[in-house]
Amino acid sequence: MKAGIVVFPGINRERDIAIALERASGRKPRMIWHRETDLQSLDLIVIPGGFSYGDYLRCGAMAAQSPVMESIRAHAARGGHVLGVCNGFQILAEAQLLPGALLRNASLRFLSMDCHLRVERTDTDFTAHYQRGQVIRAPLAHGDGNYFADDATLDRLEGEGLVAFRYVEPDGAATAKANRNGSARNIAGILSPNRRIMGLMPHPEDLVDPLMGGTDGAPLFEGISAALGSDRPAA
């Protein structure tokens, strides 16, 4: 798998993603400066977390207008894989590569703690190494993770099985208490219709090493790495 990590000014979890990808694939991902446009050789493009352009406009709004986004759009149109985590998810939503928007957390405060996620489907390259219904732990760290979409969009996402992860209690129950940021229908992560673009708010990349308190995030990177193989050409 050839993976690239897009670095917008203000992104700050690019090294975390790089560690997780290298751990899973044995291969160092390429860092892509936001002015680059040639992404043809890549199998997976990751947009990491952080505060692109300081989040001074709406989160992700500035980055979504960046030159590299056109290349990411083309990569997606070719059937390429794209993963957006946290600010990356916000950017994908702003770029309309995924539906909906991420609003201020319901508490109007930044949230940083572990949350529990239920894996909603496993027939995707991102989640194939999990069990369906499995509850995993992942750190949250965001001020704007409150997923919003109109009812028709939410119904479509549910109907087409495009919800990847939901906030749940440790026992798997999708309660209001587990849904700390106030997301519609406890949604933590969603997929594109071809299931090759995924956006999620929590940070599985920060839980891939037992030293840091767990490895619940590792199967995500192992799964995508196995699916895209070591020598697989760009799709």
Binding site: G10, N12, D16, M113, H203
Partner: protein, 723 residues
Amino acid sequence: MTNKPVNQALAAEFGLNAEEYARVLDIMGRAPTLTELGIFSVMWSEHCSYKSSRVWLRTLPTRAPWVIHGPGENAGVVAIGEGLAAIFKMESHNHPSFIEPYQGAATGVGGILRDVFTMGARPVANLNALRFGDPKNPVTRRIVDGVVRGIGGYGNCVGVPTVGGEINFHPAYDGNPLVNAMTVGIAPADRIFLSAAAGIGNPVVYVGSKTGRDGIHGATMASAEFGADAESKRPTVQVGDPFVEKLLIEACLELMATDAIVAIQDMGAAGLTSSSVEMAGKGGVGIELDLDQVPQRETGMSAYEMMLSESQERMLIVLRPGAEGTARAIFEKWELDFAVIGHLTDTGRIVVRHQGSVEAEIPLAPLADQAPLYHRPTAPSPAPGPLGAIPAARLGEDLVKLIGCPDLASRAWVWDQYDSTVGGQTVKRPGAADAAIVKVDGHRLALALTTDCTPRYVAADPEAGAAQAVAEAWRNITATGARPLAITDNMNFGNPEKPLVMGQFAAAVAGIARACTALDFPVVSGNVSLYNETAGSPILPTPAIGGLGVLEDAARAVGLAAAPGQDLVLVGADPSHLGQSLWLREGAGQEAGAPPPVDLAAERRHGDFVRARIASGEVRACHDVSDGGLLVAVAEMLMAGNTGAVLAGPTDGGFWFGEDQARYVVAVADGAALVAAATGAGVPTRLVGRTGGEGLTLPDGATISLATLRSAHERFFPALMET
């Protein structure tokens, strides 16, 4: 402002007294210009010159074989092994945080980050030490909210994890909260960047944000007491831009990987003035600045305004000749301002030109050498009042009350707003261990980091209280298994012109020196914040200690969470000291008696024993005994590990709530074996219980459920802030 005549009255307005102004006239041989007076007044302010504290700070121990740079640089530097250095410092932003809590705290974080990355380190952790007023005071809630949001707003955005800190509440901080921010960075030990300018003719470069009219005379404001007019000082507070700071970190580190830099310093307090004066002064060269080249955010700024602006996220760099192109390309890539604004000269003077005229020309040597230095009178602190009657302990009830009190309640509400995991190296997050553990990326090494001070001890006995702060930092690092290396000290005191306050300061320095010497734990950086008074009422003396230790193998770190089926062993003799204890304060309203004595030989013996037992893998969890005493320490271990326990021992308050020093609680599989090993090492121990079950059973037979403990522990912050 610019139309006022430059005379003694204006000098007084700028914070210089008559004698100091006379010295300015003597050095200049004429009346200074407005810009010159501005430069003298900020360089000679308490904040920049340490004029009241320097004579005492000199007495601190600053050397050890692992110390690479002690005080005098932007931050302290210690070797941590494998060719790496840790660079760290703690700094106050107290005055701005009272006036404007969000920006005050945010720019405090930004400033200390720059002190660390200016030396070539990538910042890997932030900590803080916060003191707020009485929770019952309606102002407190607003200040807590602003400060916490400010620390999170800045730290989260720059992508440096906030991994630890401490918070106290006390009415003495009602009009003067303390915000002390600490940053720790990692650099190759042979790639440390210093601030001494060198190379006549070398270009002086300005990078970062544009200069505006914000924060003018901030250093002067931070060198005076507040009156009733504190609100009117809001314009002296700077506004932070963490996004630009993040770009500045990346751009500076990228430039530091080349050989372009001769010297570099951030523009902190007193901005362009202090950075240019200090860099040239340290290097024994002159410097000439052309202010027309300074990137400006506003039009029509005067030389005085530009030299005194404290606009944030700016750095001053002396480049090697010919390196301008390389440097410019890097800063332009990161979309930051870059301007050559001057060059070094052999005149030994700072010359400031603006719009065709010389606005300032000051000889640098006398500006530094003849800076005021005061041996201010000191007076000893009065002995604390004697202890009143000691009430009978009701262990369960008293414990529930104590763990819910403002100084001991869960800080989760605060930590949950700080990103503690960014970077992917956080081994022990806030609350998981006595010190935060942050692994060094690509190595097995980890840092153990803590901030500590118990101001009520310092108020009661400044020498012993300050020694205790150092000992507690050393103990907190030890309790994770790490080897303590060095400290940074952030000395927060009242008005030094009052002999009682100056006496507190001098005694606190003596206490720090005693503890640092005995524990081989030198001071490598620090900051002094004086005049922490509002309407004549000083804060509790607060020498906050930031401690740093190292673990050769991050996997060896232990936390404080006990698991079921473990023996709980007290390391250290039976506690009994109730003077200044939280139990007496919270239960009987007594803030009385002497603070616990600090026996540094015992501290070292007990700590070395605990560290060795952690290294051998025998200790599964460890927690030091501090605020609230033994029973609080045990309860915290149980709540963290989600297990109950059955405790045995005496039933008196002195044993369970005494705050004697040099004590730890360890959780081990075989308590008898640990006790035997300790006896052999001359360390007193006592088996105090065994973990398991759903509740905490006390020696008086009462049982409290974990749920009761937890709900009492977690109530305070949400109740204060969310209702």
